[in-house]
């Protein structure tokens, strides 16, 4: 019913390219995502150079015109969220780890899984192709607001915007297929003994993320089709002159767009729930409380969206309600963060690189969360809306989630994926440069925002009130370059360790979850014998035992 595992050789193409193996598909998602991250990072370099040195030719890029600038910021946002964070954190890690952690041989719909990746790859090709069509790539902002984007002649972006919508729709379809697999596999393919409350929290988080995605993305898919019709057929769904309403798009977009933040955050928190107990050598604090918090956050995430529209003319009474729900949603996340802190409390922490990135994500995300309160409150948001404060805020949430979370996961599971460990020394350099440079980029942007620097302006030197702050742009841009260069040790480490890294045994970190019961890397079908689960996944440093960990699959000793 599932696979032929009779040992007959599978050719190269079936094994690594057109594969139905969840591990290969997970890696395909991750590697595609990493390549897109290079593209997204390069765009950031080019437009930050333009901001620091307006209208000078950018090395390696050339002159950045206003149209190109708009296209670059739009595509940077689109790529980083939907072609880096989503494929790596949700589909990538989810595909690779959920079946392993459940003790399953594969996802329950392997061919659907393969279709999911290939749909995603087509969407990637469409998106990259949109750079090369007449009129260039989408330049109307990553939120695609109409009426600006509802007619081709409003932005001058011709096919770019249409391809952008198509690529997004395909990406959503791919993510839905992947999500259906995660949800069904979790419900139906847990190995013997793996009750719901013995599942690693990573699996809980993945399921919550995919559920939230599934129930929020639908209206935007409908909206995207309407926007597509507006652009191509000249209908007027979002055009006021034809009776349409641009605000409708904002609702459809943010009804998805805000939950999407949690879709990306939860898998990253899931990575932390595995990394932190392993290197703190302590059981996670408040397992059930974390699960309930995730459920609460998932429900709340559907009733916060209008906080993006406080200045769009919504009813002020409604704005107060959305302010309250938005502030409320920080409570479950505070519970989760405090659980992490309690896990770390008085632990003898092993500072491996994976742990550094996990702690880095906690620290940085905290700043993102706290500055979010300022934007959740209508009175301050009206002043800060559409300024660089918002840019800094969401980079403090999304960058740690996407990159610190992802790096924590990669350094942690690399030995499982490739059978070798990554170099710790290079990892330390990678972490320190990333950590410092990231803060140097975005702390100035908070100051910018408070000083009234609007988002999405091409040439800040045209605004007299911004001229005194120009040196901050130079600092942020220099740090951007350092941040990008700081990824070179990672890329080198990644490929070098794949071939030359220290060989890793099955369970190099002495961890408890089921993926560490497989060979590194696991073969097709994952487990040599079906594992049986005897306990929860966080049994570290039990006082009555000599070894400081007790894996889920270890049978209890017979009483003497």
């Amino acid at each position: 019913m599932y696979h032929m595992q009779t040992g007959h050789a599978v050719g190269f193409w079936r094994k690594y390219v057109f594969s139905t193996d969840h591990k290969v598909i997970g890696l395909q998602y991750m590697i595609t995502g990493l390549f897109m991250a290079i593209l997204g990072g390069f765009l950031a370099y080019a437009f930050r150079m333009q901001l620091a040195y307006p209208n000078e030719a950018v090395p390696l890029f050339g002159q950045v015109g206003p149209d190109v600038y708009n296209a670059m910021v739009t595509m940077h946002g689109t790529i980083m969220l939907f072609w880096v964070a989503q494929p790596i954190l949700v589909s990538g890690f989810g595909n690779y780890l959920v079946p392993l952690q459940l003790g399953a041989e594969d996802m329950c719909f392997p061919r659907l899984n393969m279709l999911s990746y290939w749909t995603f790859l087509v969407s990637t090709v469409l998106l990259v192709a949109s750079f090369f069509v007449p009129g260039g790539a989408m330049g109307g902002g990553w939120t695609g607001y109409p009426p600006l984007n509802a007619r081709m002649d409003y932005t001058g972006v011709d096919w770019g915007g249409t391809l952008w919508i198509l690529a997004l729709a395909l990406e959503f379809a791919a993510a839905l297929m992947s999500g259906i697999n995660v949800l069904s596999t979790t419900l139906n393919m847990r190995t013997k003994g793996m009750t719901l409350f013995r599942m690693p929290l990573f699996v809980w988080m993945q399921n919550a993320a995919n559920l939230i995605f599934m129930f929020s993305v639908g209206p935007l898919i409908a909206g995207a089709l309407m926007l597509l019709a507006d652009r191509t057929l000249q209908t007027g769904f979002f055009i006021p002159a034809q009776g349409g309403d641009p605000l409708l798009w904002q609702h459809l977009f943010w009804f998805f767009g805000h939950p999407e933040v949690y879709v990306l955050l939860l898998p990253a928190l899931g990575i932390l729930t595995e990394v932190i107990p392993t290197f703190a050598r302590k059981p996670i604090f408040g397992y059930r409380m974390i699960v309930y918090s995730v459920v609460a956050a998932g429900v709340l995430s559907f009733i916060v969206w209008a906080h993006h529209q406080f200045v769009s003319g919504i009813n002020p009474q409604l704005a107060v309600a959305f302010s309250l729900t938005t502030i409320m949603i920080s409570v479950p996340f505070a519970v989760i963060i405090f659980s992490f802190l309690a896990t770390l409390w008085r632990a003898s922490i092993e500072y491996k690189v994976a742990m550094l990135f996990a702690l880095g994500m906690l620290a940085e995300f905290l700043i993102g969360g706290v500055t979010g309160i300022h934007l959740a409150s209508t009175s301050t948001d009206i002043y800060l809306h559409d300024t660089y404060f918002v840019v800094a805020h969401f980079h403090y949430t999304m960058f740690p989630v996407t990159f610190f979370g992802m790096f924590a996961g990669i350094y942690y599971w690399f030995p499982k994926m490739f059978g070798r460990k990554m170099n710790e020394g290079l990892g330390w350099i990678h972490f320190l440069v990333t950590f410092v440079a990231f803060n140097v980029i975005f702390i100035p942007l908070f100051a910018f925002g408070l000083a009234g620097h609007q988002r999405r302006i091409y040439d800040p030197s045209l605004w007299e009130n911004l001229v005194p702050y120009q040196h901050l742009h130079v600092i942020a841009t220099a740090a951007t370059i350092v941040l990008l260069l700081g990824q070179i040790p990672f890329v080198f480490n990644f490929f070098w360790s794949m071939k030359k890294g220290r060989k890793a045994e099955r369970n190099p970190w002495k961890s408890n979850t089921l993926e560490w019961d497989t060979p590194s890397p696991p073969g097709h079908g994952n487990f040599e014998a079906a594992p049986v689960v005897y306990r929860w996944p966080y049994e570290y440093s039990a006082p009555d035992r000599e070894e400081d960990y007790r894996p889920q699959w270890l049978a209890p000793e017979a009483k003497p």
Binding site: Y2, V217, M226
Partner: protein
């Protein structure tokens, strides 16, 4: 290494719902929010634009009624096919699925006839927002009919070889969903103004 097929039965915590059926329910959950979003958009606009009734009177409710009957009948044939497959009667299941496909095609033919007359009368998708929504919602629905027909035809081939008989139920669930969407669209688009 144990082979998967033999190991599956005892391999996992006992699942409560058959995997294929559950997968289909997740597909429907995704589809419900897509159609839900689209229909709610239409309702919000309609609420604010009572004058859309003047456009809505030009829809052809006779064909709407016929198509409703056609689709409901096709839901009956597919559920009978499920029953036949359940009792192992592959030939009967196959025949009933064939009827379902014919009824689905009939629905599409009526729809095409209706579209062509509406366009000929000047009620194109860009005539006004009511017609934009009309074509958007019924068009999206028609695409789902096409997808459903392809799925039923694919499963039918397997049933002919007595393979994967359980899939008759799964495409059946999908087909009922497409039917239910129409049950919402028909009154909202064709009948709402005429009460």
């Amino acid at each position: 290494m144990s082979t998967a097929a033999t190991a599956t039965l005892d391999r996992y915590e006992s699942p409560s719902v058959a995997t294929g059926r559950m997968g289909m329910w997740w597909v429907l959950a995704s589809e419900i929010v897509i159609f839900g979003g689209a229909v709610v958009c239409y309702l919000l606009y309609r609420w604010h634009h009572p004058e859309w009734a003047e456009s809505a009177v030009h829809t052809n409710e006779l064909i709407g009624v016929i198509n409703t009957v056609v689709l409901l009948t096709s839901s009956l044939t597919i559920v009978l096919a499920h029953d036949a497959a359940h009792h192992g009667d592959a030939a009967r299941a196959k025949r009933l699925m064939g009827f379902t496909i014919l009824l689905g095609l009939a629905f599409l033919c009526f729809k095409a006839y209706e579209y062509s007359h509406e366009v000929a009368a000047g009620f194109t998708p860009v005539k006004n927002l009511f017609w934009s929504f009309y074509y958007f919602l019924t068009g999206l629905h028609a695409l789902h009919i096409v997808a459903g027909l392809i799925a039923i035809a694919t499963v039918m081939r397997g049933v002919g070889r007595r393979e994967n008989m359980q899939r008759v139920e799964y495409v059946g669930i999908y087909w009922h969903f497409v039917d239910v969407v129409w049950i919402f669209l028909f009154p909202l688009l064709y009948l709402a103004p005429k009460f």
